[in-house]
């Protein structure tokens, strides 16, 4: 099964690719934080423009980014359906008994802009370095070792588990299974997912054995070779200044 990988464009060359992973994660995290805290539409819109600019600067193709954004769109769509109908405020349109409020629409737009900006920034943040550099940087940033291990193993084995699931569904289809909106489909899919869990559990035991036999004692050690330069701090200063600017703009605009 082909699955798009977050570090597919880590080999490109851009100011974001050459940025020290640790400083990049911290700086862009500050920017994400300022975007999710945006208190009005103008600031959230500025944040989105900034996020688009950073994706452009990272040279990651927008087609690849949009491919991942469709899930965010689904999430945001729910807010656009629910909030204009449920938040009270000035009515801007009415369809029979359904009343659409301006306040609800504004709130849904604000949530949508925040969500898009934050998710867009994930691409320049972790899509511009190899996944191993991301996890090594997180480890150097003192993220708990167990959490880093969970991230590493999830990323490594999600593809294996999905491949396995694909094979199981293929085997089911080869024996005449056709999915539909019925109880039989629910039961079959439930059984397949249950079997995947059982197999994954067995696999974790085997992986643990393989780790222990190579000296694993509960702490994951990785070799990293990060080197900080002046330009890393300059980039960080610029991004953090933008984050602060956005945050304080929310108070004044």
């Amino acid at each position: 099964m082909h699955l798009p990988e977050i570090d597919k464009y880590a080999h490109l060359d851009s100011p974001l690719h050459s940025w020290d992973p640790r400083v990049k994660i911290v700086s862009l995290f500050c920017l994400i934080l300022s975007m999710v805290l945006a208190s009005n539409l103008l600031v959230a819109g500025l944040g989105l423009m900034l996020a688009v600019a950073l994706v452009f600067l990272s040279r990651i193709p927008f087609g690849f980014v949009f491919l991942h954004l469709r899930w965010v769109m689904l999430f945001v769509l729910l807010f656009f359906i629910i909030m204009p109908l449920t938040v009270s405020g000035e009515e801007i349109a009415r369809f029979h008994f359904l009343s659409i409020s301006r306040r609800g629409l504004e709130l849904a737009s604000l949530i949508g802009l925040r969500a898009f900006s934050a998710v867009l920034l994930v691409f320049p943040m972790i899509g511009t370095m190899k996944f191993s550099s991301t996890t090594a940087a997180l480890q150097r940033l003192k993220l708990p070792n167990k959490l880093v291990q969970m991230i590493i193993f999830t990323y490594r084995y999600i593809f294996v588990a999905l491949d396995e699931m694909g094979r199981m569904f293929m085997a089911a289809r080869a024996r005449g299974f056709r999915s539909g909106t019925n109880l039989h489909t629910l039961k079959t899919v439930g059984n397949l997912i249950g079997m995947l869990f059982v197999r994954s559990y067995e696999r974790t035991e085997h992986i643990h054995r393989a780790m222990v036999s190579r000296g694993y004692d509960g702490t994951l050690r990785v070799l990293d070779e990060f080197a900080l330069a002046k330009k890393d701090f300059l980039k960080a200063a610029l991004v953090v200044a933008l984050a602060l600017g956005l945050y304080f703009a929310g108070w004044t605009l």
């Binding site: 590493i152 294996v160 085997h206 054995r209 393989a210 222990v212 190579r214 990785v222 070799l223």
Partner: protein
């Protein structure tokens, strides 16, 4: 010849009650290449798991395993860099996001310096013909490359004994040939559990036939593998190359 492994009257019963080993005793000498054969459930993998003390703690066992002069106990960590264990499924041996980290995993746990780790990774990958694969994701390797990378993960620890479970399962003929060639280039003591008896003929100087948790036959590779009646009595078949030779092909 100096003794590498001594197993004395080894018994092991899994928590669910399966008696996997019933009094195994054998000696392996330094530099030997030993093929361990037997039908499914014979106890091959269980025997190998005793060599670096990683069997589940809930199981019941008795007997002694001495490797490189030290008695091995369950969860014994001292010996693990000296005995390299390659598991059957490379997706379980290669658990890191890139090949470099997988091959470096053992040396880093041994507490080696960064420079030493990098040198070992380079040597190990070169030894399995995977130089330049450092940045590759294990998920994107072919079955043969995964198997070779799995072997590199223990070679980087520079073990004195190499233990491999089913090195050729799921491999196409070319990849299988590459693994046979690789195994023949390694000079350390080797213990290889497999159903591929033609492979045993090519890589092992000695062959141990296990069935129902017991040693049935222990002798020079060709001598054991030529014994058609014995092999068939224990659910195995004579290697095709020997069969053809016996029929003057």
């Amino acid at each position: 010849m100096k003794e590498a492994v001594r197993i004395e009257n080894l018994h092991y019963t899994y928590p669910e009650g399966t008696q996997a080993l019933k009094g195994i005793s054998l000696r392996i000498y330094e530099g030997e290449s030993v093929g361990i054969i037997g039908p499914n459930g014979a106890g091959k993998s269980t025997l190998l798991l005793h060599l670096n003390g990683i069997l589940p703690a809930a199981g019941q066992g008795e007997g002694r395993v001495v490797a490189l002069g030290e008695e091995i106990r369950r969860n014994d960590k001292r010996i693990r860099s000296d005995i390299g264990f390659v598991f059957e499924d490379p997706d379980e041996q290669l658990f890191m996001p890139r090949v470099f980290d997988d091959v470096a995993f053992g040396p880093l746990n041994m507490g080696l310096s960064g420079e030493e780790v990098k040198a070992r990774v380079k040597d190990a990958l070169r030894a399995v013909n995977l130089a330049g694969f450092e940045e590759r994701s294990p998920h994107h390797l072919s079955a043969g490359e995964k198997r070779a990378a799995a072997i590199a993960t223990v070679l980087s620890m520079r073990p004195q004994i190499l233990v491999i479970d089913e090195p050729a399962s799921d491999l196409d003929p070319r990849s299988r040939r590459n693994i046979i060639h690789l195994l023949n280039t390694f000079r350390m003591t080797k213990m290889i559990a497999t159903h591929d008896l033609d492979m045993v003929l090519e890589v092992a100087t000695r062959c141990i036939l296990l069935d129902e948790g017991k040693v049935i036959k222990d002798g020079p590779g060709e001598e054991v593998l030529k014994n058609r009646e014995l092999l068939e009595a224990h659910g195995l078949e004579m290697p095709l190359s020997l069969l053809l030779r016996s029929q003057n092909f």
